[in-house]
Amino acid sequence: MQHLLTIVVPLVFFLMACVGTGVLVFNALPRRPQQPRVTELVLAFLLGQGVLGSVLLVPALAGRFTIPVVLSLTVPFACYGLWHVCRSAAAILGAAADCCLAFLKAPLPWKLVGLALPALLLAWSASIAGMIEGDAHAFYLALPKVIAASHRLVLLPAYEPFMNVGLLAEMQVAVLFLLGMPDASPKLLGWLTILAGAVVLQGVCRTAGLGRRGQVIGLAIVATSSAIMMLLEGKSDFFAAAYALSAVLYLQTSWSDASRRAALILVGLFTGFALVAKLSYVVAFVPSLGILLFLKEMPNLKRMWLDRSQCRQMLQGYALDVLMAGAAMSLPFIPHLVKNVILLGALGGPHASFEYFTPETTRQIVLRYPLVLVFGKYWGQLGNISPLLLAFLPLALFFSRKNNGWSNTVAPLFYAAFAGLVTWVALFPAVPIPRYFMANLLLLSVPAAWIADRLSRYHWAANYVLAGTILATLYTCYDTSSEAVFPIKSGYRALFAAQTSALTPEQTGLTLNINEAYFRDGFEAINQDARPGSRVFLASYSRFWLRPDLIQTVNNDAENSVMRWDPEDPDRLWRQLYQHGFSYLYMDSGQRLSEALKAPPSWVNVQEIFPNGAFFGKGYGSAYRLIFNGAPGVRMFDTLEVAPGAWNLVPASQAASVAAN
């Protein structure tokens, strides 16, 4: 029970803090378009995430990311959020009752869908015991763990240039680590954000005129997208999609709102948070935003063209709209840019190259859209968008859309999403990675759901086939992904078992995906053996399972550029390891330094501490203790605890003088 509370209490507390923060911002915009109560709570949660994720950068940069400071910044909002949620309890229960009534009234095939869909979305919470993705191992979970333990935001070793990215999600996860959530359980924040994004998408569908069935089909597209499911493994890309969808929802409601200003401010805020969370949305989402902002005004503009005075007035109004949205959009960038200046000395960072493939492969990728998005397995892709998009969108060819509301409400979303997608393919043809333009793909689910909904009402056979297709796809996703991504039995045990650190390795395997458990054991071997502040040389991308004090002093970018195995000078690497103060070495399954280990110099004793004869060999990595005796040269670097939990790499002389004092 205590273990369950250490997971649930911080999560619920942070959830309330986000809701409270978001509601306070909403209260400052009383003329905003109103949403149903539950949708408004979810939008408040997402807005609060963005605000808190930005505000918490301040104490982190100041080295004051401690429990008293964080609680003083969040408790008032959490109390207000809790009070607001309690006041909305009747509305929440009413919405739940409406859903139950709709379920009872639904035809049998849709009752099955109505059972399977929420079951799958809830089962995703078992990702607490699932695999952790490579990028999360390296950065997206490792950085928040270090921020929480060291109470500061500093450059993560080996990822110094990469720190220019927005850290909205990472700051939130850092709060959860700080509040004591164990192991990788803060991944649950990603799951909650995905659920929130799904609710917002349902709101977008509803505002576009889709009925309950269409909204369910839209949710089914979310639930059957492996590109979203894989994000449960610790990546934070869906945060941007959720913020972008919120912006679209407010844009939709601003179409019919006489006073658009409050809606546009919220559109700007959400878009700003989306861009900070994922800069690729500048290319994919901003064009879509522009289309949605002005598409519905085009007929008015055309009509007023002849009347110059009115046309000028309208254009002035539009310019003011753009300025207002732009100003709101720039607000989230301020703390992000300040962070970059403090940490990196520049507003941005080095531009990454997106030339992932040869020109011929790139040409083939472009020619094979949209199949690459649904059935592709390209490097870095990490999942696909739902096959239901491919199943339903082309059905538009089979029947007429006239007089069915397509042109008024659904078509703008289709054109906007498609335009953004085309822009991305034109500018980055070698990047067929759905999470870079997830919001556009989810917007395409609205017309897809509309078409499928209409088709299901034409004929009972189409109704059965459609429902059957959704059920089959839901099951396929569950069957193929649950063992790795959301192992239900392990997730149940992880929630209700004792602290996993108190378990034996065999018991850990029951509360964590078995491959992840074995992988973790390699790092645990070092954690158990190393004294505080030891240096670990990582010949690996991953670091999350290391102790936070060890993560802070692993080999950095500069050291990685000079410390390499050279068969011509086999002693050089070992000299460098000694001089730079390393006392442990870790290699992943790639074993790229295995040649160096075959014949180390006589003055270094290499002792294997993992896998140490385990049946799986070095398939899950290997860890070594390094003992130097009479090594040539002098030790140049050492580590120093500059504040509780905060370790720096310093010259050895400085560390020695501090130790002497």
Partner: protein, 198 residues
């Protein structure tokens, strides 16, 4: 696999008997045609799966039953029965409410007719039987009956959806690629992958 082979004949015979009974119900109009055809389609599919020894069935059942196919069958069967009962209760409640409404409307209509008769006097009293509204007045079709999609297009749309679901199952590894279609899919998937800098 042995388990499914042993199960097959009794299951197939049972299903054939059930199909015959369902057909009889449909023919004698004791069951709605749409529902009856739906049952027949499901029964035919199960017979087909049993005949083909499709291992995917055993895999799905074992998954649902935590490794035990029997438990999977029992869970699926119980779940299906519960859903069916719930669905039928909902339909019965809906029909009961409609029946009540129709009875009320009939009673009101009868009362209006009686009032008219008494106002006109004894000479113009007509047999009210012929003027009684038909009970079928409430049976407006729930689905827009006018099919604006030609049957061929509708069939093509259904085939397309099933094909995409099948291709996804093959792509995910749930269903093995079989026959010429399997080879085509395998080469399609091979053309949709590339490693870094390749």
């Amino acid at each position: 696999m042995n388990y499914t082979q042993n199960m097959n004949m009794p299951v197939i015979i049972l299903l054939l008997l059930l199909a015959a009974y369902t057909w009889n119900l449909v023919r004698s109009n004791r069951i709605n045609t749409q529902l009856g055809v739906g049952w027949l389609i499901v029964e035919s599919m199960i017979v087909l799966l049993c005949l083909l020894h499709w291992h995917i069935v055993a895999r799905v059942l074992a998954r649902l039953g935590g490794g035990d196919v029997t438990l999977g069958v029992a869970l699926l069967g119980l779940g299906w029965l519960a859903l069916l009962i719930l669905n039928n209760h909902a339909r019965i409640s809906k029909l009961t409410a409609k029946l009540k409404q129709v009875n009320q409307e009939m009673a009101l209509a009868c009362e209006r007719l009686d009032r008219l008769e008494s106002q006109r006097g004894a000479g113009t009293a007509h047999a009210a039987d012929g003027a009684k509204p038909s009970a079928a007045v409430a049976s407006a079709p729930a689905v827009t009956a006018a099919a604006t999609i030609p049957v061929f297009r509708l069939g093509a749309a259904c085939v397309w959806m099933v094909a995409v679901a099948y291709v996804f199952a093959v792509y995910s590894g749930l269903a093995p690629p079989e026959g010429a279609a399997g080879e085509m899919l395998t080469s399609l998937f091979a053309s949709l992958k590339a490693e870094y800098l390749h």
